[in-house]
């Protein structure tokens, strides 16, 4: 009796409930020669729901609480045979018990453990039957309720639809939970971080070197958490990316919407879509493998010292990544400009490019600006390209040929190296995440405002 078979039973009961109540409502409508409020199947649906929901609820409770309860019981029993002092010991014992249960391993020699394993199996089996019993029992009650309710007056469809609606509403509430989860998970850790490193120092410090000593006897760098070099690096790379992406993306969008023939559009649109679909880790690999060395070689050729992990290379590739993003959003903004404005300009004898430059672009400008803002927020949050192609070392510089690091790189670096949940080093990753979240949130809200404005202008 596995949880999934319990689930199947519950489903079965729900089906039965549907059939029974459906039949009953059919019978009622026949006997009384009176019209039911809802269709027979609505009564069926309602009954099925009444049978299903309590069953699912019981099963969920079992799934959530069973293992801790059973573990406790088994430990209790085992403690009569052996000394179990700590929770940890208990946990390890349970693992041994479960290994015996799952794999019937021959390695286990302790008879107590083997006995406990069979006991565990027995209890678990009992628990599952109890679950099944309660699930089906409550389900039957639900079905009975629905059965009794079935009648001419009862508005089964409305009731059923109401339940449906609650489920739908709950689903849309998940977005809120997610945001809440993000904010809370970032905030808690960040607050702990800011207890050690003052917020002001974090936001204005010019020195970033988070590698603090882990133990007392270790002599390491003193650790400083001034995030300005990270912000500067992030901004520089984003700026380079935008310098590549905005003109190319915008011009491409203009060409696609205003000049390209249908056939050309048919070819190029998928190209841009593929470009948009390429995972960023691939761009990162491409940057590290092709672009960065190429830039460096080019620098050597003309006598410019370009770092092998220059901001330029990372920014350039990020720019490529963002081109389709900008072009598709600008495309939308441009096509949203009503044809009548274009006609108005053309009818005055303006050439196409004059129309585009003087009428279409200004009219689409809010949308385009919104697109650019969204693209910036994307660039700021982009991770893999910079992890693979930008530097690791915080470096406060204005020279794009040097290597700089970004907020996201540092988050990855801090969290994939060491994992401990109390040092300032690890916590600083969450603080950086919070900064990132707030920054992109701000940009998004701004972008949405601008975009909404131009939508209003034409709707």
């Amino acid at each position: 009796m596995t949880p999934s078979s319990i689930f199947m039973f519950i489903i079965l009961l729900a089906s039965i409930a549907f059939i029974v109540v459906h039949q009953r409502s059919l019978a009622i409508s026949k006997n009384k020669r009176q019209k039911l409020h809802s269709l027979p199947r609505h009564y069926g649906y309602f009954a099925a729901t009444c049978a299903l929901l309590p069953g699912i609820f019981v099963l969920a409770i079992w799934l959530v609480f069973s293992s801790s309860t059973l573990d406790g019981i088994i430990i209790n029993q085992l403690s009569t045979h052996m000394t179990i002092e700590t929770d940890v010991q208990a946990q390890l014992l349970i693992n041994r018990v479960k290994m015996v249960m799952d794999t019937a391993t021959q390695l286990e020699t302790d008879p107590n453990v083997i006995a406990a394993a069979s006991e565990y199996l027995r209890l678990e089996g009992m628990g599952r039957y109890a679950t099944l019993f309660f699930a089906l029992g409550l389900g039957c009650l639900g079905m009975g309720y629905a059965y009794l309710k079935t009648g001419v007056e009862f508005r089964a469809r409305n009731k059923f639809e109401k339940i449906l609606m609650i489920i739908l509403a709950f689903c849309s509430g998940i977005a809120i939970f997610t945001t809440l989860g993000i904010v809370l998970s970032l905030l808690f850790e960040s607050i702990r971080f800011f207890k050690e490193v003052p917020l002001y120092d974090f936001l204005t410090g010019l020195q970033w070197s988070p590698q603090t000593a882990l133990r007392g006897d270790q002599v390491a760098s003193s650790g400083s958490f001034g995030a300005v070099p990270l912000f500067a690096g992030t901004l520089m790379i984003s700026l380079i990316a935008m310098t590549v992406a905005v003109p190319v993306g915008l011009l491409a969008a203009i060409y696609m919407t205003q000049y390209a023939s249908k056939r050309l559009r048919k070819i190029t649109k998928p190209i841009l879509e593929i470009l948009a679909g390429v995972p960023t880790v691939v761009y990162g690999f491409f940057a590290a493998l092709v672009i960065a060395p190429a830039f460096k070689d080019f620098g050597d050729l003309i006598g410019l010292p370009i770092d092998s992990h220059s901001a330029l290379a990372a920014g350039f590739v990020m720019g490529i990544m963002i081109i389709p993003f900008i072009s598709s959003l600008s495309d939308d903004a441009i096509t949203a400009v009503p044809q009548s404005l274009k006609d108005g300009s053309m009818a005055l004898g303006a050439t196409k490019s004059e129309t585009i430059k003087k009428v279409i672009i200004p009219a689409a400008l809010p949308g385009i600006i919104g697109a650019i803002l969204l693209a910036v927020s994307r660039a700021i949050g982009e991770t893999m390209i910079v992890v693979m192609a930008a530097g690791m070392q915080a470096n406060l510089t204005a020279n794009p040929m040097e290597s700089v690091t970004t907020v996201t790189v540092q988050i990855v670096k801090l969290l994939t190296g060491d994992q401990e949940f109390d040092s300032a080093k690890t916590l600083s990753a969450f603080a950086l995440g919070l900064v990132l979240f707030v920054a992109t949130l701000f940009l998004n809200i701004l972008a949405q405002r601008t975009v909404r404005k131009y939508r209003e202008a034409y709707d």
């Binding site: 274009k342 006609d343 300009s345 004898g349 200004p362 202008a457």
Partner: protein, 268 residues
Amino acid sequence: MNALNPTEVKNMLDLEKNTKMTVEGLNVFYGDTHAVKDVSLNLRKDEVTALIGPSGCGKSTFLRCLNRMNDTVDSCRVEGMIKLDGQNIYDKNIDVVQLRARVGMVFQKPNPFPKSIYDNVAYGPRIHGLAETSADLDEIVATSLEKAGLWVEVKDRLESSGTSLSGGQQQRLCIARAIAVSPEVILMDEPCSALDPIATAKVEQLIETLRGKYAIAIVTHSMQQAARISQKTAFFHMGTLIEQGETSAIFTAPAEEKTRDYITGRFG
């Protein structure tokens, strides 16, 4: 062949002199749709010509051929001859930019640019380089707005956006914008259909004052309007020009059955 008498000749010459645009055997296709079928029609400098007919009969299409606005529709193919002052406008060496400046157009829905009123009117003169100095430009803008009967209403708010005006004002602004490049012909495609009765009346009045200075062609759905403002009327049906003539004649004694049915509301 009989000899012509002097008055007749004078009339014909007069006609010739006053004819601004001539259309001969015009056929227009959108892909496979034959939207305008073998239409011939003249526009005279001193008259307002109204184009009427049920929806989809090709009025707009016809109108948009006169300044080659149909060039912007990919699938559109135009056959036949359209002459502006005797020159075929579909000639290869005709400059579309110049043509459209000479043949202005006003659309069904007022479509001011989302710029200031001033910039709306100045747009045409600027792109064509019609004003040497900014004083010239001011002058052009003022005159155009005045001609469009909008000057008094907007002279104190030239900087506010064209879209902030009311519908009727917007339509007159569009007319001013067309006038600003000193066109010779003005085409109007249902210029009043999006306006309320009062604004409609103002625009009709404006058309009346413009008559004589520009050759005007106007598409309208309202027979009443056609009767009020036009001197010539052309009735289209399913792409064909069924009948044309003096407005008064068409509305009182149409030659064709279809025309009569239409203007008495039998169909459409």
